[in-house]
């Protein structure tokens, strides 16, 4: 029983790990490009930087979403609920951010 759970945990960890690496990589590339563009005084530099920061912020959020899906698949009620709770809080953050601009 615990061995199976360990396996599932390991798989989830691997998936999350790859997601994180991907997110960071994309974000880093965008930020580097945006920084270079900024130094060269390209007008597009702002947008590129914004995308980079956006991807950076999206990475942990996606992390939580992926965990949610995985726990739901494993029919792990307690941790599905926990992950969902976190996602709700993050939803609150995004709402507050949206409100700050509008």
């Amino acid at each position: 029983m615990t061995a199976a759970r360990d396996d599932q945990l390991a798989r989830l960890e691997h998936l999350l790990g790859r997601l994180l690496v991907g997110g960071v990589a994309v974000s880093a590339v965008c930020l580097a490009a945006g920084l270079a563009a900024s130094m060269a005084a390209w007008p597009a530099s702002d947008s590129i930087l914004d995308v980079g920061l956006g991807v950076l912020m999206a990475t942990p959020i996606l992390r939580v979403v992926v965990s949610l899906v995985e726990y739901a698949r494993q029919r792990d009620r307690v941790f599905t609920a926990a992950t969902l709770a976190v996602l709700l809080v993050l939803g609150g953050t995004l709402y507050a951010a949206w409100r700050a601009v509008h």
Binding site: T2, D6, L9, A10, L12, E13, H14, L16, G17, R18, L20, V21, G23, V24, S27, A28, L31, A32, G34, L35, S38, D46, L49, D50, G52, L53, L56, M57, T59, P60, I61, R63, V64, S67, V78, F79, A82, T83, A85, V86, V89, L90, G92, T93, L94, A96, A97, W98, A100, V101
Partner: protein
Amino acid sequence: MAAGATAGCLGALLGIGGGVFLVPFLNLVVGLPFLSAAGISLMTVIATSSAVSARTAGRQLINLRLGMVLEIATSAGGLAGGITVARLSDRALHVLFAVATAGVSGIMLTRLDRRNVILDRAVDPGPLGGRYFEAESGGDVTYRVRRLPVALFASFLAGSLSSLLGIGGGILKVPVLNAWCGVPMRAAAATSAFMIGVTAVAAAPIYYARGNIVPELAAAAVLGVLAGSRAGFRIGEGVRARGLKLLMALVLAGVSLSYLLR
């Protein structure tokens, strides 16, 4: 950028976001307003967290379940802090932070040699405990989690402080996990490193929307931190748990002093 690299290095070593160094640097040395420093630092926290936990993933050091449960409290604290930070006085925050880090440093120092690992493989870790291989102990180590309510409360505090001050909050989470909740140092560091990214993103979008973040500086800091954390991770492989705890306690003491003196 160099500051980002140092912060990232230390962050990867200790399982904290490194924001505790970056914020004072941006605020005092570079002269940015506190909110800008905090906002940029939160971005680097996300970067460190993602980078470090991407690398520790797969070794079962990150206690995903415990982390997620605690994250409910932490991110709630982060959201609360993100909303209220614009209304609090700098001085109040500094003093609060100095006191908290001094206290935690003290706790860590008095518990330097306590070991939380149970070496018997047959012991059931319970729903929130974990098991992983540690070369230092010569085999798989198992641990159970104790005092969850304390951890939840501390996590909420950590989350609030995180968003108020622009730090990862791991600086409180790791000692709490380690000293009060029975989680061994490496697992605590890894779990915390994983968690702080989520906590930071509970507040970062709000900073971003308020226009606190200077994109070019944020980009430079993040890239610096990513480079630094690669270095820090390599160094961390050979360090023993006691050394990690001592380093952490000393770092906290230094941080506390620097804020008290402001």
